[in-house]
């Protein structure tokens, strides 16, 4: 990993279109400004990792008859709830 030392208000440039600027250093917190092209997404790493992990958890392999049954069973209680909410709507 490349390590650079920067002070407040100093920046680094990545490639020719990404700029990362240290705005403020406050105790253990660092405020960072990022200028990047619109098509590049910028996320806090721990949030992104959380989403990745949950996506992996959420995977349901192609559903064969057995799995439809399994899914149906595990969701059947929801259906009752949905139906009871619907009745109360009326």
């Amino acid at each position: 990993m490349l390590i650079l030392t920067r002070k407040s208000d100093e920046s680094i440039i990545i490639g020719n279109n990404i700029k990362i600027k240290v705005l403020k250093v406050q105790g253990s917190q660092v405020h960072i400004g990022i200028d990047a092209p619109r098509e590049l997404s910028v996320y806090r790493e721990e949030i992104y990792e959380q989403i990745r992990k949950e996506n992996v958890n959420a995977v349901q392999r192609t559903v064969d008859e057995n799995k439809i049954k399994q899914l149906e069973d595990s969701l059947s209680n929801f259906k009752n709830l949905f139906n009871s909410v619907k009745k109360k709507d009326k």
């Binding site: 392999r61 439809i68 709830l81």
Partner: protein, 166 residues
């Protein structure tokens, strides 16, 4: 772009059981329509083509199936159905990728993690799937709002039921 339940209310079908999706999108939802996810979704970046399968047996859940990766699919649900107060702001970056200009054209789905005990089954409210039904482009949007990644659907439904009591 703000998206709340009432912003899509005019296209909302009153009959929750018969169709839990806004009318505008319900007519377009079938496994012939291929949705393009230009960036895939986190952890599955190579999967860029998806179809939505409506299955009576798992309604009101739908099945978002990858056409690029065998055996990849997700059970999803309309988040407004399980949490009516859900209100999200889609960041400009995501809007431009989606080409989304009209909130009414947005289909919002939350990915569901199905657990053995239905009470433990959760929906991802922090990173919904947003699909622009005008051009069939989709993306998992990571919101700036403080919504849970694991929202217990059961508890959400119980809260709705409680609120309906006179």
């Amino acid at each position: 772009m703000k998206i709340r339940r009432d912003l899509v209310a005019s296209s909302w079908n009153e009959n929750v059981e018969a169709s839990s999706y806004p009318k505008k999108v319900a007519s377009l939802l079938n496994d012939k329509v291929v949705f393009n996810f230009p960036d895939g979704i986190p952890a599955f970046e190579n999967s860029q083509k998806f179809i939505i399968i409506l299955n009576e047996k798992i309604k009101p859940f739908v099945y978002l199936k990858s056409l690029d990766i065998d055996d990849l699919g997700f059970v999803c649900i309309d988040p407004f159905l399980i949490y009516p107060e859900y209100s999200i702001n889609i960041p400009g970056k995501d809007l431009s990728v989606l080409g989304l200009k009209d909130a009414g054209a947005a289909l919002i789905l939350s990915m569901v993690t199905v657990e053995k005990d239905p009470k433990d089954t959760t929906a991802n409210m922090l990173a919904p799937i947003v699909i622009n039904m005008d051009n069939f482009t989709g993306r998992q949007v990571i919101l700036e709002e403080n919504y849970p990644v694991r929202f217990r659907i059961w508890e959400g439904m119980e809260a709705i039921e409680k609120n309906k009591k006179p």
